[in-house]
C-alpha cells in the first residue's frame, strides 16, 4: 500500500513495522494541561494517539481542539469523529479545520447513542453514518472536492480509519462489514478490545481468506483489565464487548492487590499471541483511566523503542 499522506502512523505501517496507537479522552473542562500531560506521557512510546469525540455521549472538550494540543506537544493525533452530533456541513468544516493544523489521521465513527451520556434529552444528527463519513473523507482528499463537487483549495490529506468489532452478532456479516468499510475508504482499522482470542483469530482468518489484510492495516484493540470489577463490568454492561469467563476466572484467582498486575500479564500475553496472527499490523492500546501503564506495556511487549520514519 503506497503512502498517500503525511501521517506518521501511515508511514510506520507502510514500512512494515508493527504500529502502536493509544487513546486520550479529553477532559470535562477547558484545562488543556490534562491533554498535554497525556501527550507527553505517551509521546515516545506510541506512534499516534486517538482523541475521543464526546465518548459515550458525555460532553467534553472538543476532539479537534485536543488534537491540536497534542500536535503541539509533538504527537501525531488521530481525530475521532462521530456522526451523531454534526451534519455534513459541520463534518466537512471540521475536517478542513483539522487539516489546517495538519492533523493527518481521522477515525470515522457513528458514535454511541446520546442516551448513554449527559444530554439524554438532546437531538442526534446522523446525517451520515460511519461508512459515509469515510467516503466523505476520501472524496475530499482524493478528489479534492466538497460533497457538492466544488473544488477545495488545499484539500485535507488524512489517513482514513475506522473501527471494527469482530465480536458482535450477526457474525456472518463481520468479514463482509470490514470489506464494506474498505470499499468506503478505510485504510486502517482499530478493533474493539480483544479478550476472546479464538474468535478474533477466526475473524482474521476470514479477513485473510478474502485478502482484506492486504487492503487495510488492522490494529488489534488491547485494553488491560485493572481489576476483577472492571472485567465483570465490561462483560455485563459494555455493548459489543466479548469477555470470556476464562479472563474473569484468572482475575478472580489472584488476591485483589495483584489483580492489576494480572491484568497487565494477560494483556502482554495477548499481544505476544497476536503478533503472530497473519494480518495484524499493530496494536491500539486503550488503557482506560490508566494511561500511565501504556509505556510499560509497550516496553514489556518488546515494542520499544519505536521505529523512526523520515519526515518528507
Amino acid at each position: 500500500m503506497s503512502v498517500k499522506t503525511e501521517s506518521k502512523l501511515e508511514r510506520i505501517l507502510a514500512a512494515g513495522h508493527l504500529a502502536i496507537t493509544s487513546e486520550c479522552g479529553p477532559p470535562r473542562g477547558s484545562d488543556p494541561e490534562v491533554i498535554i500531560k497525556k501527550g507527553e506521557l505517551l509521546k515516545d512510546h506510541v506512534d499516534a494517539v486517538n482523541v475521543t469525540d464526546n465518548q459515550t455521549s458525555v460532553t467534553r472538550l472538543s476532539s479537534l481542539a485536543a488534537c491540536i494540543h497534542l500536535k503541539l506537544t509533538g504527537v501525531d493525533p488521530v481525530l475521532q469523529m462521530v456522526t451523531r452530533d454534526r451534519n455534513r456541513i459541520a463534518l466537512q468544516s471540521d475536517i478542513l479545520g483539522a487539516a489546517s493544523f495538519d492533523i493527518n489521521n481521522i477515525l470515522c465513527l457513528s458514535g454511541d447513542h446520546q442516551i448513554f451520556g449527559d444530554c439524554k434529552e438532546g437531538q442526534n444528527v446522523f446525517d451520515l453514518d460511519s461508512m459515509q463519513l469515510l467516503q466523505t473523507v476520501r472524496h475530499m482528499r482524493d478528489d479534492g472536492k466538497f460533497l457538492n463537487g466544488d473544488d477545495i483549495n488545499r484539500p485535507p490529506r488524512m489517513f482514513a480509519g475506522a473501527a471494527a468489532n469482530p465480536f458482535a452478532e450477526p457474525y456472518k456479516i463481520r468479514v463482509p462489514r470490514l470489506a464494506k468499510k474498505i470499499a468506503a475508504g478505510a485504510e486502517f482499522i482499530q478493533t474493539q478490545c480483544i479478550y476472546n482470542l479464538d474468535r478474533f483469530e477466526e475473524w482474521m482468518n476470514g479477513v485473510c481468506d478474502r485478502g482484506l489484510h492486504e487492503k487495510v492495516y488492522i490494529l488489534a484493540g488491547i485494553t488491560p483489565m485493572k481489576s476483577l470489577g472492571m472485567a465483570r463490568y465490561m462483560k455485563k454492561n459494555v455493548p459489543g464487548m466479548d469477555v470470556p469467563d476464562q479472563i474473569i476466572d484468572r482475575l478472580a484467582g489472584v488476591p485483589k492487590e495483584k489483580q492489576a498486575e494480572e491484568g497487565i500479564t494477560i494483556c502482554l500475553e495477548t499481544i505476544e499471541r497476536l503478533k503472530e496472527v497473519k494480518g495484524v499490523s499493530g496494536f491500539h492500546i486503550m488503557a482506560i483511566e490508566w494511561e500511565e501503564k501504556v509505556p510499560e506495556i509497550v516496553e514489556r511487549a518488546g515494542l520499544f523503542p519505536r521505529p523512526k520514519v523520515s519526515d518528507e
Partner: protein, 222 residues
C-alpha cells in the same frame, strides 16, 4: 397508521380548566385503533374530567363527541354545530387533526389530548411499534423491507453499529436491532451478498430537513 398516546390527565386538566364549556372530540380513525383517541376514549376522558371538575369545584360543562377523521373537511359537517356552541375543543386526534381543526375554526381555542408518537403498525393486540418516519425517499427495496431510518436508533444506512448486543439495540435490551433484522431477512431472501453494497449519502431534503412538505395530485386539484 398514526399512533398517539393520551397525555396525563393532570396536563389535560390544566389546559381546559379555565373554560366554561369544552367539547371533547374523538377521531375514529388511526388513534381509535390504538385505543387512545376514538369516540369511546373521548367519553371516558370526559367522565374523568368531570370528576376532576367536581373535586376542584370548577364550573365547567364537558360535552363529548367524535367524528370519523379530523384531517378531512367533509367529516366536520356533523360536528360544526357542536363546535360553534363551545368555548374550546379538546381534540383526541393526532397533531394533524388538531391543526386541521385549528385552521377551520380560527377563533376557537383547541387543545391536544394526545401526544402523537409515531407511524406504526399493530404488532399484536395492544402493542404498536414504529415502522416509518416518512423520510420521503423510501429505501426498503435495498434493506430487506425493514426500515433503518425509523427502526435503527441511529438511522444508519450501513449498519449495524458496534453496539449491537445479541441481536438487540444498544439503547434498549427489548428492542430488536434493525440491522440484525435486515441481515437475517437478506439471508432469507438469498441476498446476503447485497449487504456489501454501500448505501450512498442519503438525500434528506425529502425528509423534514427540507422543510414542510406538500403533495399535489394533478387532476384532483380544484
Amino acid at each position: 397508521m398514526i399512533v398517539g398516546q393520551q397525555k396525563p390527565l393532570a396536563e389535560i386538566w390544566e389546559m381546559v380548566r379555565k373554560h366554561r364549556k369544552v367539547l371533547v372530540l374523538g377521531c375514529n380513525s388511526c388513534v381509535a385503533v390504538c385505543h387512545q383517541g376514538g369516540t369511546k376514549q373521548a367519553e371516558v376522558l370526559t367522565s374523568l374530567l368531570r370528576m376532576q371538575a367536581t373535586q376542584e369545584e370548577a364550573e365547567i360543562e364537558l360535552v363529548d363527541g367524535g367524528i370519523e377523521r379530523q384531517c378531512e373537511h367533509e367529516f366536520f359537517e356533523s360536528a360544526r354545530d357542536a363546535i360553534s356552541r363551545t368555548d374550546a375543543v379538546l381534540s383526541l386526534a393526532c397533531g394533524v387533526g388538531v391543526q386541521f381543526m385549528a385552521e377551520k375554526f380560527h377563533a376557537t381555542p383547541l387543545y391536544p389530548a394526545l401526544n402523537t408518537t409515531f407511524l406504526g403498525a399493530v404488532e399484536r393486540p395492544g402493542f404498536f411499534t414504529e415502522k416509518c418516519q416518512a423520510c420521503g425517499n423510501c429505501v426498503l427495496a435495498t434493506t430487506g423491507g425493514i426500515c433503518p431510518v425509523s427502526r435503527c436508533a441511529k438511522r444508519l444506512l450501513n449498519g449495524p453499529c458496534g453496539g449491537v448486543n445479541k441481536g438487540k439495540c444498544e439503547i434498549n435490551k427489548e428492542l430488536d436491532c434493525a440491522w440484525c433484522l435486515i441481515v437475517n431477512r437478506l439471508e432469507a431472501l438469498g441476498k446476503l451478498d447485497d449487504y456489501e453494497d454501500l448505501f450512498p449519502l442519503k438525500d434528506w431534503s425529502k425528509d423534514r430537513a427540507g422543510g414542510p412538505r406538500n403533495f399535489k395530485v394533478e387532476g384532483y386539484l380544484p
